[in-house]
């Protein structure tokens, strides 16, 4: 009997120790796995979208690829996990994904109470409205009483409520789980207005059967800084993601592109040298060619922008706020030194 009791106590103790969580660094995890698990959207042209061969592309996807290039030396070693707006934070918190790059707005509540950190801004956006052309609406102030389609679990839901309350207008929110469903709702006429970040509206508009039938209203009602997100409390990994994005912006500023990166390697410019070789990588726990790999395999920020959402894409969005700071925009990266 005594033996049993002792054994039981021992088992309980062992068990409670077992329950203590094991939390290794994400950087080591990714290196060990040999691949990066990146949370993306369920399909948003220009930002994260899979083609018929299940190859992902987009501005957000390029951030994932840049991190994979920096850490693993191969931008292709990314496993994409498509997530709805509702699922994204839980997936990150629970460790299901290593990082989230899914047009996610940086807000105070998210930064402070979800146990996550925003690693920069890869697209400065603002919320807008899209309406059907034959409605004859010219401005968002004419939308009193309208039914509005939104995607669940976004800052959009809150901004919309604030805006209509401020203007003393009424609305009916029709909330869908994915952006595909809200587009369908808009297309079938369930709602008069589709609201989302403006970049998304342009992206979703090309998904419509007849894109010419819809217009995006001029009002921008909110600030939506979108960026990649990591778990809080893993500073080494936070640095890696943050500086992978900064490397892309710095590369554009320094004039380093995927085309000229090999010849730039022998550049006399010390800034370029620090980006492409040098000990910046070591301080991040990466190889010294991390910056070279990012630029060679993914390209600089400007290249990624034009390829995915800018002139080289179907979206044709101008640089606007997303131009470099030196060209009147907001994209500004701390120096690598």
């Amino acid at each position: 009997m005594k033996k049993i009791t002792i054994g039981l106590l021992g088992a309980t103790a062992a068990f409670s120790m077992m329950m203590g969580s094991v939390q290794a660094g994400t950087l080591d995890d990714v290196k060990r796995k040999g691949s990066l698990t990146c949370g993306v959207s369920t399909g948003l042209p220009g930002f994260s979208n899979a083609n018929s061969k299940n190859v992902w592309s987009g501005l957000d996807v390029d951030v994932c690829r840049a991190v994979a290039a920096a850490v693993l030396g191969d931008a292709g070693k990314v496993k994409y996990t498509p997530l709805t707006a509702k699922e994204r934070f839980t997936a990150l918190q629970s460790g299901e994904i290593d990082m989230l790059s899914r047009n996610t707005t940086w807000t105070h509540t998210r930064d402070t109470s979800l146990g996550i950190n925003f690693a920069g801004v890869n697209y400065y956006d603002g919320q807008g409205f899209m309406v059907s052309k034959n409605l004859g609406v010219k401005s968002a102030t004419e939308l009193d009483g309208a039914a509005v389609c939104i995607q669940a679990g976004t800052t959009t839901e809150l901004n919309l409520a604030d805006y209509f309350r401020l203007k003393g207008m009424k609305y009916k929110a029709v909330v869908f789980d994915t952006s595909d469903q809200s587009v369908k709702g808009f297309e079938s006429g369930r709602c008069d207005v589709l609201t989302s970040d403006q970049s998304q509206l342009y992206a979703l508009r090309i998904k419509l059967a007849n894109p010419g039938n819809a217009v995006v209203l001029p009002e921008v009602i909110s600030k939506e800084p979108l960026g990649p997100v990591v778990r809080q409390g893993d500073d080494a990994w936070f640095n890696v993601v943050k500086w992978s994005l900064f490397a892309m912006v710095n590369a554009e500023e320094l004039g380093v592109t995927s085309g000229n990166v090999d010849s730039m390697k022998s550049s006399a410019n010390p800034g370029v040298k620090r980006l492409l070789s040098g000990d910046a990588g070591k301080k991040l726990g990466l190889n010294s060619d991390w910056g070279y790999n990012i630029v060679k395999q993914v390209g600089n920020y400007g290249e990624a922008f034009e390829r995915n959402v800018g002139k080289g894409s179907a979206l044709k969005i101008g640089r606007g706020l997303n131009a470099l700071w030196s060209k009147g925009g907001l994209q500004y990266a701390p120096p690598i030194r």
């Binding site: 009997m1 049993i4 009791t5 039981l8 088992a11 309980t12 062992a14 068990f15 409670s16 077992m18 329950m19 203590g20 969580s21 707006a85 509702k86 934070f89 839980t90 918190q93 509540t109 998210r110 402070t112 109470s113 979800l114 146990g115 409605l135 009193d144 009483g145 309208a146 039914a147 669940a152 679990g153 976004t154 839901e157 809150l158 919309l160 409520a161 604030d162 209509f164 309350r165 609305y171 009916k172 929110a173 029709v174 909330v175 869908f176 789980d177 469903q181 369908k184 709702g185 079938s188 006429g189 369930r190 008069d192 778990r231 809080q232 409390g233």
Partner: protein
């Protein structure tokens, strides 16, 4: 996990061994040491098992809290008092963006209860009709009922919800070209608009008349039953009841000068305004849940009816009962005993399936509270816990009610 299972296994084994142990006879006067006394041992082991299990869950709880704390995730229920700041499409209680997250919980809960409640009633009615039709002697009716059952119960529910929502209701014309029924009801892809009643002075008399009529009908039924038991004479209870419940309030309504105004919906800038409105999300969800569950209920009803021996029908015929009273007085009361338990699980299924609402944007508990509220506050553990507790409570309440009803029916057994 493994260790807990192991410990429980050992304890169970010891208990079984102890209970199998037969004390030798004629040793009653001898004192048995407490550790050899099967009664003491079993109590001790039960107690230890309970403590271990309690400790197990306590550890999980504490660990979750500690881990979330370390990762900087806010915990606790304080968020329920914060302002929600988002709109909800449909609410049975007053709600706008300035209400709290706690309020969104009740808005979602009531929307869930609404669709589940209506769904249960409609599915039961349709299910009974189809189930009886399935056994009809009319070949066409029986086959039609069979086709209904086989088609609907073999198509996934989510697909049916999408069908009703996207293929049927969203294909309706826009508000400007809505289908009008006599200029009173307007059906379009924004929903069904209908005039809402506005009671005026004197309408309370009508309500009171209705209350009195209902009480009168209850009394009448009792009286008629007693009279039939004593004298054998029947009284047309059904017709008199209908006359009382419908006729009396109508008479008072006319006498007081029709004190009821109607708020008719009218076309406004974007859609109809004023009056009442049933949103298409609600209609699609309710319709799909009803049709799907009714197919299962029909099969349960058919099985219940067939479980009553044919001799009962023959005996009823021998007593001179016609078809309808045979079914109503002899077959169905007996088949209910077989029907009620599986019917309960169908009710539970319907209630839980209503959470598919989130797929088409009907603002039920899962969509509003576990969707938007969870995402805005990020407190997954608390919110998922609360939502699970709600479904558990609703299901247990339905079970409790149905079990009570089942007991009541079983008592009539001889």
């Amino acid at each position: 996990m493994v260790s807990i299972a192991g410990i429980t296994g050992v304890i169970l084994f010891l208990e079984i061994r102890d209970s199998l142990y037969m004390p030798p006879a004629d040793h009653g006067s001898q004192k048995v040491a407490p550790w050899n006394d099967p009664k003491v041992r079993s109590v001790v082991f039960q107690f230890v098992a309970l403590i271990t299990l309690g400790y197990f869950f306590y550890t999980i709880f504490q660990n979750t809290l500690a881990n979330m704390e370390r990762r900087g995730i806010t915990t606790g229920f304080a968020f329920l008092g914060n302002e929600a700041g988002f709109g909800i499409l449909m609410s049975l209680i007053p709600y706008d963006e300035t209400y709290t997250y706690g309020r969104t919980f009740f808005v979602g809960l009531l929307n869930t209860v609404l669709v589940a409640g209506f769904g249960i009633v409609l599915a039961t009615v349709i299910g009974f009709i189809i189930g009886v039709a399935r056994l009809s002697n009319n070949w066409l009716i029986a086959k039609a009922a069979m086709v209904y059952i086989e088609v609907l119960r073999n198509i996934p529910l989510l697909l049916q919800i999408f069908f009703w929502y996207f293929a049927v209701l969203q294909a309706l014309p826009s508000p400007r070209q809505s289908i009008a029924f006599g200029g009173i009801f307007h059906l379009n892809n924004r929903g069904l608009y209908f005039p809402s009643p506005i009671p005026e002075a004197g309408f309370s008399y009508v309500i009171w008349t209705l209350v009195v009529a209902v009480i009168g009908v209850i009394w009448l039924r009792r009286w008629a039953r007693r009279r039939q038991e004593i004298t054998g004479q029947q009284f047309p209870v059904v017709w008199v009841s209908i006359a009382l419940i419908v006729g009396a309030p109508l008479l008072v309504f006319a006498l007081t000068g029709a004190p009821l105004a109607w708020d008719h919906p009218s076309l406004q800038r974007f859609s109809f305004g004023g009056g009442g409105r049933m949103i298409p999300e609600f209609m699609a969800l309710l319709w799909a849940l009803t049709m799907y569950t009714a197919a299962f209920i029909a099969e349960i009803v058919r099985a219940g009816i067939q479980s009553v021996s044919h001799g009962q029908t023959e005996a009823a015929r021998a007593l001179g009962l016609r078809n309808s009273p045979t079914l109503r007085l002899v077959i169905i009361p007996q088949s209910l005993r077989v029907i009620i338990p599986p019917l309960t699980s169908q009710y539970l299924n319907l209630t839980k399936n209503s959470s598919l609402a989130t797929a088409i944007g009907y603002p039920d508990l899962v969509s509003v509270f576990m969707g938007t509220t969870l995402n805005q506050t990020g407190q997954a553990v608390e919110i998922v816990g609360m939502t699970m507790a709600v479904y558990l409570t609703i299901s247990l309440l339905i079970s409790m009610f149905m079990n009570a009803y089942n007991k009541k029916i079983a008592l009539t057994e001889r």
